[in-house]
């Protein structure tokens, strides 16, 4: 984490001057579980993509290709919504 700024350095009134900077704020460290994808099983229905509350499902050429771990919170929604017959996503404990 970068050094926290002093009161003399922070912008007046906490105004955020660079719009959309939430993208650079890494929140992936909050995870205790992480989603793991079984590429063989995935049918690219993109249900996980539309359901992820953190837009952390990475899609390329209309194919689900993995997770953005800078922002994925490990909530497990993707694993839950993946069709029961498919179950391409499983949740594993972080750090294992």
């Amino acid at each position: 984490m970068s050094r926290l700024k002093s009161w003399k350095e922070v912008p007046m009134a906490a105004v955020i001057e660079d719009a959309g900077n939430a993208e650079t704020y890494e929140t992936g460290g909050w995870r205790t579980f992480k989603p793991v994808l079984d590429k063989e099983k995935c049918i690219h229905c993109l249900t996980c993509w539309i359901s992820c509350p953190d837009t952390a499902i990475v899609v390329k050429d209309e194919k689900m290709i993995g997770f953005n771990f800078k922002h994925c919170k490990g909530c497990g929604v993707c694993a839950d919504v993946c069709p029961k017959k498919v179950t391409a996503i499983t949740m594993e404990q972080e750090g294992k």
């Binding site: 009161w7 009134a13 906490a14 105004v15």
Partner: protein
């Protein structure tokens, strides 16, 4: 320069607003400040100003609209009193914390209950910790002059804080007095163009106002606000000097009337100072060394300057036209007493709460206070530290 006129305090303030010509005014009517916006809406309707007038559905909404307009980058003004100020309370802090230089004209009025529409400063005192600069005015001329200067002070880059300018409801807001209006162009030249900082309407540089600010940064932003309020002291004096060049009228952080060699003194805000000055002139002619310190600003609180101005006095009465209901005196009392705590020599200090709900302060009341101060100065003993006067016992 200028034009001698006869006006009520409210109309004088409305004329200051006309000459300032703000971008946006959002307001809701409340006695006794209603006349300000009523007159100002005439100016808007007549095309005398280019202001966008927003008649809001409450004072909370009025202040919210002011905040939005000021964040957008506009020069913004409003007016209120009493319950209106109380209803704005939540948004006052938002305006100050977001460092938006809104200027508010305030015809000071008592707070309910019991319901009362007349002058005291309980409305302003409720807002004293909100981060707003607070001016108080003895008469229509001062209210007019303070409002014009407030624009410059609030927008100053070392300050960027909202400012409220008070005068006593009815006693000043509705009494016609002789005063001088500056030329329209002179006011425009004095205030200059609105100084904006990170305006939302600079759409090429999108930004966010009012984000969540937690344990890691909230205190840094409050520390900045504290610095801004400290800076305001110097800026107020600087702007006052320029204003004197323009108008010939002198202003500072407070007015010291016959104070230099005073043995006894009163501290009082707003119109009471006029009554007190009359008694001082009378006492001085009989050799009594009586004086007055009339604060022009209560926020920032100029503690060092006050200590310097009062430390030679033997006995001081801080008079409050509001009661903080803490059981030990009005809101000015602890701050003035505390300002003198570090002075090498300090006066004996008492507090008298007076004139609540517009109860008249007569010359005889002031004479009694000075009489008591003379006794204290002579004996070195205080009988009643804090209490009410102008009340039926």
């Amino acid at each position: 320069m200028g034009q001698q006129v006869a006006m009520t305090g409210n109309i004088a303030v409305a004329n200051a607003m006309r000459q300032i010509n703000p971008d946006v005014c959002a307001a809701y009517p409340i006695t006794p400040s209603t006349e300000i916006m009523q007159q100002f809406s005439n100016f808007v309707a007549d095309g005398d100003v280019k202001t966008v007038l927003v008649p809001a559905e409450s004072e909370h909404s009025a202040m919210s609209a002011c905040i939005g307009a000021a964040a957008a980058g506009g020069r913004v003004m409003t007016a209120t009193s009493s319950q209106g100020m109380a209803l704005m309370w939540e948004m006052l802090y938002i305006a100050a914390g977001n460092r938006l230089p809104i200027v508010l004209a305030m015809s000071n009025r008592a707070l309910s209950a019991p319901l009362n529409i007349h002058g005291d400063t309980s409305d302003a005192m409720g807002a004293r910790d909100s981060g707003w600069i607070q001016f108080f005015s003895e008469n229509a001329q001062e209210a007019y002059d303070n409002l014009i200067q407030a624009i410059r002070i609030a927008e100053h880059m070392d300050v960027r804080l909202p400012a409220m300018v008070g005068m006593d409801g009815f006693i000043i807001s509705h009494s016609i007095e002789s005063m001088t209006l500056l030329d329209d162009q002179a006011v425009q030249d004095f205030i200059g163009d609105c100084i904006t900082h990170m305006p939302l309407l600079d759409v090429d540089n999108p930004k966010t106002f009012g984000p969540l600010d937690l344990q890691d940064y909230y205190i840094e932003h409050k520390r900045q606000e504290y610095e801004a309020m400290k800076n305001a002291k110097g800026v107020i004096v600087e702007v006052a000097k320029e204003f004197t060049e323009l108008s010939g009228r002198e202003y500072g952080l407070f007015e010291a009337y016959a104070l230099d060699d005073a043995e006894i003194a009163i501290v009082a805000l707003n119109s009471a100072a006029g009554t007190i000055k009359t008694v001082i002139d009378e006492l001085r002619s009989t050799g009594v060394r009586a004086g007055l310190l009339k604060p022009r600003v209560f926020r920032p609180f100029p503690a060092e300057e006050i200590a310097e101005a009062l430390s030679h006095v033997k006995a001081v009465c801080v008079m409050d036209r509001a009661d903080g209901v803490n059981g030990t005196g009005g809101p000015l009392f602890p701050e003035f007493r505390s300002a003198l705590y570090d002075a090498p020599k300090r006066p004996l200090i008492i507090n008298r709460i007076f004139g609540l709900g517009g109860r008249d302060l007569g010359l005889h009341h002031v004479r009694d206070v000075y009489g008591e101060l003379q006794k204290i100065a002579g004996t070195g003993k205080i009988e009643t530290l804090a209490g009410y006067i102008t009340v039926r016992n």
